[in-house]
């Protein structure tokens, strides 16, 4: 039995969705999948920077030959493609702004790194 899904899986599913990996939209044809996939594999083998990144709704992601091959295999299987089309509704977008650190409540202390030293221990 595989492990139970978690939200980390949700993020991974979005970010590794084969359509995003190949830079295609769900309406594309089978031939598009083969052609793009083959081109990207070639470019990656030659380590071309233009193929190194792909866009997802959550921002850019690194592209690897493994991912492209897995994406092609997924989209070649009609059952799997159906599910991936469902999850690929959101448009990919470029670099999102970094969320700022949430502010700590006022009058609060930062973590005290010398705490163990205070007790006379050299190492925690």
């Amino acid at each position: 039995m595989a492990g139970k899904p978690t939200m980390a899986d949700a993020q991974r599913r979005l970010v590794e969705n084969p359509f995003y990996v190949l830079g295609l939209r769900p309406e594309c044809s089978r031939l598009d999948v083969e052609r793009e996939g083959q081109k990207l594999l070639g470019m990656l083998e030659l380590r071309l920077k233009s193929a190194a990144i792909y866009m997802t709704p959550l921002g850019p992601q690194p592209r690897s030959a493994e991912r492209v091959r897995a994406a092609m295999a997924e989209l070649r299987n009609p059952d799997r493609r159906l599910l991936h089309e469902f999850w690929a509704r959101l448009p990919p977008r470029p670099e999102p702004p970094k969320p700022p650190e949430p502010p700590r409540p006022e009058h609060d202390l930062e973590p005290f790194s010398a705490a163990f030293a205070a007790h006379g221990w050299r190492r925690p």
Partner: protein
């Protein structure tokens, strides 16, 4: 390299015969051996002087000198079984014998083409398990190949079939009945893409079974008519039986041409008596004898089609591969069962080798050893598909050496097709020195393109390589994994890493936790991570293909139970496996996989297992008869028949037939799984009934004695139970039932009547208690409490009685002694 020089080699390393083929991008040619035949028997002989002979010449001695002439060693690949050659006094492993056959084929290729091939594609059965594939790679290495890729036989057949015929879109079946194995594959061609949808098969079904069926008939005839008692289980009869088998084989082949033939062998002996064999075999009898084996193959076919939702008559093509599939009765029965005549015009004996050669082209696995002749010119690194169904694929390239003087470095490139009818426009290189060009292909042939360069000043620049070739044909999807691979856990579960059908190559990492402590420095304490292959949920039913062991002796630190281990399993395109375990706590990595072997099958063990199975079978049959479950009775009937075959195989195993032993072991596992599925199915109606009763009881109890929150929870749970019943999900139903029972218990405990009933139930179970003496005492106490009407005392007694019921069976042993969860 111009197209005339491109050569791709494919080899079919079969159980009975082996073939080699070469593909030049346009057509496939078979390689002929020194006898002029494309087919080389997979037989190796070592004579008393140590001379080694391979092929047809060796086969001639198969009957007269069986101790020194070996065939069908493919079935023993991946076992530790060494094969002995008595006269020369040497032993060889199966992969070494396979290597000899490969060497012989290499020589034949050298004779025909003028060079020794360095790279090739070798076919393996789709259901070959990891130890067997790995032994094949080893054989190739021993034979001197520099690089070899393994290809599944059905894909090879499909490629060869698809190559020569106009393709129609749709689903096809490749039915491959070989000498020793049966493979069936479901494929789909759509838009030029050949995709393997699924495999199935039987590693121990083949033409050989026909031969043995005939032999069994002969033995039966001999016993009846001539009173000669020969048995396959007797080692002393082995020689005679071998001769009979050879005659049977020849008769079988004859019957493809004629309606009736005689089987005559003179001078056979059993013990002290000699006798002559003289029987007549006709086609009808042959058909009757072989029908069970063919039916087995059809069962597998139907199973595959059902698993992938292909309806009756949903196939567009059936391709038959393998020597035995030539027999008319096989072809007839198969086409009747599948509703389609098999494809004509394909040579079933050599199709696999042809397909392997074509596949070598798609993989770009050129056979010639690397060219030594240096080419001048600016070096360009190219990527393009060696074969594509796309009529306009891309060629991607990048300049490798930059920084030379600008008149020898191209700033623009173009590709022009060798027939002069098409070229790309001149395209500039980008800042990385790279370009992406789409080319146009002529269908169904190798397309040669010249790569031309132009410098910034307009002068021509020679490029290396000067040409490239793309064959327009089929695109094949990545080969799928034939069996699910996972890790067995201590709870007899399987943590799946790769599902069956997952595209290869593949790699995954999961985190596991140990269930016991491994002390540093202690050689005895060991964590075993078993890797299994199989479709079953229960680990003990899956086949153990290897185990990664972490022993205390290698540890830097003691690992307490619950330590995390990150296990990565990696498979390459041919299905070869590598595994690595990382312990984050200490940073150590373990890579040694032990036991990548097919396990031994001792006849005594097999015997014991058969007895156990018979017992279970008996129980299930009585139960099924009692409840009148026709479907189950059918299944069990088939299991009975399989058990009879199994007993025969075990008998043969006792007579020294290692192959039969392996087959028996495998059948035992399958039978075990079959019985388990029957047992599970049997449970559904019980479970369903249990659920219905539980709901009725709970409704009453909770409404009478339940607190408000219990009542609302009950409503929710009742809905969930209904849902689980409708979707027939036993796990979910069990889960919800447990909840429901707990609710009923909680509510019912407030009712004194309930404890009385529980007491009665508990006291009936006296025989099963772990401590019957104490149980007796408690029951006596309980009766006194009942008499006095003391509910509290009764409750205490019942709870103590419950403590005495036996605990859970030992699960870990079933999980192959796994040390992780």
């Amino acid at each position: 390299m111009s197209s005339a020089n491109l050569v791709y080699v494919g080899i079919d390393l079969g159980t009975t015969n082996s073939t080699a083929a070469v593909f030049d991008g346009d057509k496939v040619t078979l390689v002929r051996n020194s006898q002029g035949s494309p087919i080389t028997p997979s037989v190796v002989r070592i004579d008393a002087r140590g001379n080694l002979i391979v092929g047809a010449r060796a086969r001639r001695f198969l009957e007269s000198d069986p101790d020194n002439t070996r065939a069908e060693f493919k079935r023993l690949m991946g076992t530790a079984q060494a094969i002995r050659f008595a006269a020369a006094g040497v032993e060889r492993r199966p992969e070494e014998l396979a290597a000899e056959v490969l060497k012989s084929l290499r020589k034949d290729i050298e004779d025909q083409l003028g060079f020794v091939p360095a790279r090739a594609v070798i076919s393996v059965p789709a259901l070959f398990e990891l130890p067997q594939s790995s032994a094949t790679s080893e054989a190739a290495r021993l034979a001197g190949f520099e690089r070899v890729e393994l290809l599944q036989e059905p894909i090879a057949s499909a490629l060869a079939a698809g190559w020569t015929i106009e393709d129609k879109a749709g689903s096809w079946l490749v039915y491959d009945l070989g000498g020793g194995t049966f493979d069936v594959s479901l494929l789909e061609t759509r838009d030029g893409l050949l995709r393997v949808i699924g495999h199935d098969g039987d590693n121990f079904l083949g033409g050989r079974d026909f031969d043995w069926a005939i032999v069994d008939w002969i033995l039966e005839q001999l016993a009846r008519k001539d009173g000669v008692a020969l048995s396959r289980a007797e080692p002393g009869h082995a020689a005679t039986i071998r001769k009979i088998k050879l005659a049977a084989e020849e008769a079988k082949i004859e019957l493809s041409r004629v309606a009736e033939t005689s089987i005559a062998v003179a001078g056979l002996s059993v013990g002290e008596t000699t006798f002559d064999l003289d029987l007549v075999l006709d086609r009808d009898t042959l058909e009757r004898l072989c029908a069970p084996a063919i039916e087995r193959s059809l069962v597998v076919c139907r199973r595959l089609l059902a698993a992938h939702g292909v309806p009756e008559g949903g196939l567009t093509r059936v391709v038959m591969v393998g020597g035995p599939s030539v027999m008319p009765m096989v072809r007839r029965q198969v086409s009747a069962a599948l509703g389609l005549p098999p494809e004509e015009g394909l040579d079933p004996m050599t199709l696999v080798a042809q397909g392997a050669a074509i596949y070598a082209a798609t993989a770009g696995l050129e056979a010639r050893p690397t060219a030594l002749e240096p080419v001048r010119g600016a070096k360009i690194w190219l990527q393009y598909p060696a074969m594509s169904s796309d009529l306009t694929p891309h060629v991607v390239g990048r300049l490798v050496e930059r920084g030379r003087a600008s008149n020898v470095v191209p700033s623009e490139v173009r590709l022009s097709r060798a027939d002069g009818l098409w070229d790309t426009p001149w395209t500039g290189l980008d800042e990385e020195g790279a370009f992406v060009l789409a080319v146009s292909l002529i269908a169904r042939r190798p397309n040669v393109f010249r790569l031309e360069g132009r410098s910034a000043t307009g002068g021509a620049v020679v490029l290396d390589p000067p040409t490239l070739t793309i064959v327009q044909g089929l695109t094949i999807s990545d080969p799928p994994l034939s069996r699910t691979i996972g890790v067995a856990t201590a709870g007899d579960d399987v943590r799946v890493y790769f599902e069956r059908g997952a595209p290869l190559p593949a790699r995954r990492t999961f985190t596991l936790q140990t269930v016991e402590t491994v002390a540093k420095g202690s050689k005895d304490s060991l964590i075993k991570i078993p890797i299994v292959q199989g479709e079953y949920d229960a680990a003990h039913l899956c086949r153990l293909v290897g185990a990664l062991e972490i022993s205390g002796g290698e540890l830097r630190q003691t690992l307490p139970s619950g330590t995390e281990i990150e296990l990565t399993i990696e498979l390459d395109r041919g299905g070869r496996m590598a595994a690595k375990a990382l312990v984050p706590a200490t940073g150590q990595v373990f890579e040694q996989i032990a036991h990548l072997l097919v396990p031994e099958a001792a006849p005594e063990v097999l015997d014991a297992q058969i007895v156990a199975l018979r017992g279970r079978l008996g129980e299930l049959r009585t139960d099924a008869f009692r409840r009148g479950l026709a479907g189950v009775i059918d299944k069990l009937g088939k299991a009975e028949a399989a058990l009879v075959d199994l007993a025969l195989d075990v008998g043969a195993a006792k007579g020294g037939d290692a192959d039969a032993a392996q087959k028996a072991r495998r059948s035992l596992i399958e039978l075990d799984a079959l019985l388990e599925s029957v047992e599970l199915d049997r449970r559904w109606p019980e479970l369903d009934k249990e659920a219905r009763e539980a709901i009725v009881y709970a409704t009453i109890v909770v409404s009478e004695h339940g607190l408000p929150h219990e009542q609302s929870l009950f409503n929710e749970t009742a809905r969930a139970v209904e849902r689980a019943r409708q979707t027939r999900d036993p796990l979910e139903l069990q889960r919800q039932l447990r909840l429901l029972n707990r609710l009923s218990y909680a509510a019912g405990s407030r009712d004194p009547e309930v404890w009385r009933r529980r007491f009665e139930n508990a006291s009936v179970d006296l025989g099963n208690l772990t401590d019957p003496v104490k149980g007796q005492v408690l029951i006596k106490e309980g009766r006194e409490a009942l008499a006095k009407g003391d509910n509290d005392a009764l409750r205490r007694v019942v709870q103590k009685l419950w403590q005495l019921t036996p605990g859970d069976p030992e699960q870990r042993r079933r999980g192959h002694d796994s040390g992780v969860r």
